[in-house]
């Protein structure tokens, strides 16, 4: 009896230990982690082409929980290639020694730097160093619901041509019932997330200087951008809008506010017109897409977009840097970029890839975004090693400005004062 008991105990302990192991990681395969991933199967099939060509196995993990990325980078077993959803962290990671600078890999892999669109590439540059390479990018434009326009007495084929007109149209498209409850909003400037980067560019500035070395948080364009957004909240009452917004459905569902006709205009990205969003979730929606309009006084700013997008980095702890570099070079080939981003309806970061027929096949609404990529007013998001902390503070200030009516200048002055020394310190090191 005692013997059976001890054997049983040993078995239980053994099975518990084995159960703690995670999914098997093939030691001979290159590990590619992608932070996003609407269709992991498709991505794995894409990378299987690299295996077919070179015989090197590639194991793709997508999507990867953001919380897992930092431990992996600081640990002893990071992936060989890491694809991040945004470039905000690349400079911070480089500062902490978590990722490699890529000039060597670019040289060895013969990657054509001229093939990249300049805007997304600039997010990866720090002086002469290249910290990451852009792989697919996003741009935002104005979407409008033609049926709601018609119901409000507006021409459904004529979206607003200036920011001032947008405010006028939004007034006509906002419906408040007899109890004072909002049942339809014309426009919510920060629907889904903040779009201050787009508005501030339309007002002629950004919260960093162009080279990313100076903080311009309390510059006039920033104050203008936040004041312009604030008016939507003060007009109808921030509390009322909050209440209304709390009834919105999930982002990727047929009940999303724009799909459900609760919001008549929205600023959103190119993936909305692709196969995973509107055509899948609400194909009957009668809508249009156009470039976000400039302020009336500055028509030369028409076609302004702010590129933000995914980037590829090589972790500093990757085991075989040469193998990672070879895989990176393959990922940057125009035909690979075209295949991956046609499928996901994201914008290509390679000029050659942008000419591919499959992007034209995505339809005229997608072409709006492709044309915007080549616009002279296409900017990249500017980041710095303190981006995360600064973005968090800016987000909190934006919340106070929009929801509590705080004065934009006071809030932005406070952030400028707090973060200017931090940026100097971060860049000095």
């Amino acid at each position: 009896m005692k013997k059976i008991f001890s054997v049983a105990c040993a078995l239980v302990i053994l099975s518990l230990l084995l159960g703690a192991c995670g999914p098997a990681r093939d030691p001979n395969a290159l590990q590619v982690w992608i932070e996003w991933g609407d269709n992991p199967k498709q991505i794995q099939e894409l990378f299987d082409k690299y295996t077919a060509e070179t015989g090197v196995k590639v194991q793709v993990t997508a999507p990867v929980d953001s919380d897992k990325i930092l431990p992996a980078l600081t640990g002893s077993n990071p992936p060989d290639i890491l694809v991040l959803s945004g470039g905000d962290l690349a400079k911070s990671y480089y500062k902490e020694g978590l990722i490699d600078e890529l000039s060597g890999a670019i040289r060895d892999g013969n990657i054509d730097m001229d093939d990249f669109f300049p805007a997304p590439l600039s997010m990866c540059r720090q002086g002469d160093l290249i910290l990451c390479l852009p792989w697919g990018t996003d741009a935002y434009a104005l979407f409008w619901n033609k049926d709601l326009f018609e119901a409000a007495g507006l021409d459904p084929e004529r979206p607003p041509a200036t920011m001032e007109e947008l405010v006028e149209f939004a007034d006509k498209l906002t419906i408040v019932d007899s109890n004072g409850k909002i049942t339809q909003m014309g426009f919510i400037p920060n629907l889904s997330w903040s779009h201050t980067d787009l508005y501030v560019r339309n007002f002629g500035g950004f919260w960093y200087s162009d080279d990313g070395t100076q903080l311009t948080v309390n510059s006039q364009p920033m104050i203008d951008a936040l004041t312009w957004q604030q008016q939507f909240f003060t007009k109808y009452g921030a509390d009322n809008i909050q209440k209304f917004a709390s009834s919105f459905g999930e982002y990727s569902s047929p009940d999303a506010p724009f799909y459900a006709g609760k919001v008549a205009m929205m600023v959103e990205g190119e993936w909305q017109v692709g196969p995973n969003f509107i055509p899948a979730l609400k194909p009957e929606l009668n809508y249009g897409v156009t470039a976000f309009p400039p302020p009336a006084a500055h028509p030369e700013r028409a076609g302004t977009i702010v590129n933000q997008g995914t980037v590829v980095v090589i972790p500093a702890g990757a085991k075989d840097k040469a193998a990672s570099a070879r895989l990176l070079a393959w990922m940057m080939r125009p035909e690979i970029v075209a295949e991956e981003f046609c499928f996901n309806a994201n914008l290509p970061t390679s000029k050659k890839a942008a000419e591919a027929q499959c992007f034209k096949d995505l339809g005229p609404k997608f072409q709006v975004f492709v044309e915007l990529m080549a616009s002279p007013n296409a900017f990249a998001i500017i980041t710095s090693p303190i981006s995360l902390e600064l973005n968090d503070a800016l987000g909190a200030a934006e919340e106070r400005i929009l929801l509590k009516g705080a004065d934009p200048k006071t809030e932005l002055d406070a952030i400028q004062a707090e973060f200017e020394p931090k940026l100097k310190e971060a860049l000095g090191k």
Partner: protein, 317 residues
């Protein structure tokens, strides 16, 4: 063992047991005991003590992930005391400790007293009140986000039926913490069960004697029941306080990774801000300093509570 001072245990650990007055049987017994303790001890040293000491060291450095940490002495601590968000986080946490913990104790004691009454369906009621406490934290929080939804949530819908316009709950900085307190009260089944078992130990003889002397229900509660369960109250108070200082999961679910502390930093609790500093801003040294300050705060408050409690707790032998 003769001397129960902790240094004696340490000495015994370091020197194999070869005390002259021990028989072989006692030596074997000790060795076997240590063998059984070994897994826990290894785990304690590897996963609790070592990380604690490492974080103490890191709190005096700027921690670079793959490069050597940079010693900066007390800089992290000084910066913390000048950090506005540190005080906001501390305030929010103290709000919960001072309001949610006593409220929880009061409510769960009341529920336990009611669940102790001999009525029909007592077992059924006990199960119903206990069930919410085994709902996983994340699921419960998401459930409450929907219950407290300002526009379509059940709570505001029911309030509207009696003519009250419900607040914006989790979207309103003044109502987010009360909403979280409601969530906590809903899940207080564990505390109720502990009180219930304590109530069983209240001697029936005392209750009957009080009845004979003409004490009414409230007087019996106040003069007999409450003092008799006071050790349990102390236990629940201390564990509740320790847990509330580390309040994290529910606030994290409400904020989501990118929106921690929303709305307007009203749900930015101490642990949430610590997490933000460590894993979002990559300021591990700063976060380690926060962790040690929290440890000291909880330690001091626990000692204080234990000292003060002597006057208020009655241990029935």
């Amino acid at each position: 063992m003769q001397n129960s001072h902790w240094t004696a245990h340490l000495r015994l650990l370091l020197k194999p047991p070869a005390l002259p007055h021990w028989t072989k049987r006692e030596t074997d017994s000790f060795r076997l005991g240590m063998l059984f303790l070994a897994p826990w001890l290894i785990g304690f040293f590897a996963f609790t003590l070592y990380p604690m000491l490492a974080s103490l060291y890191y709190s005096f450095t700027i921690y670079h992930a793959r490069r050597a940490p940079e010693w900066v002495g007390l800089q992290n601590y000084i910066q913390l005391f000048q950090d506005e968000k540190f005080y906001i986080a501390l305030n929010n946490t103290l709000y919960m400790v001072v309001i949610a913990v006593p409220l929880g104790l009061f409510a769960s004691f009341l529920c336990a007293v009611l669940l102790n009454l001999k009525v029909r369906g007592q077992a059924f009621y006990r199960v119903v009140y206990f069930l919410p406490s085994i709902v996983p934290t994340v699921a419960g929080t998401i459930l409450f986000l929907w219950l407290l939804n300002p526009q379509v949530g059940l709570v505001n819908t029911l309030l509207a039926k009696i003519g009250i316009e419900g607040p914006n709950w989790m979207a309103d900085p003044n109502w987010a913490k009360p909403g979280l307190i409601l969530l906590g009260l809903w899940g207080m089944g564990g505390t109720i069960v502990i009180y219930l078992s304590g109530l069983q130990d209240v001697p029936q003889s005392l209750i009957e004697a009080a009845e004979l002397d003409g004490a009414n229900w409230l007087q019996r509660l106040w003069y007999i029941t409450i003092p008799m369960v006071s050790p349990i109250t102390l236990f629940n108070l201390i564990t509740g306080m320790i847990g509330m200082f580390q309040y994290f999961a529910q606030a994290y679910v409400i904020g989501g990774g990118g929106n921690l502390g929303r709305p307007l930093n009203s749900t930015l609790f101490y642990s949430v801000y610590l997490y933000q500093n460590a894993f979002l801003f990559l300021k591990m040294g700063y976060a380690s300093a926060m962790a040690w300050i929290l440890f000291l705060i909880i330690l001091l408050l626990t000692i204080l509570l234990l000292k003060v409690s002597d006057r208020f707790t009655y241990y029935a032998g």
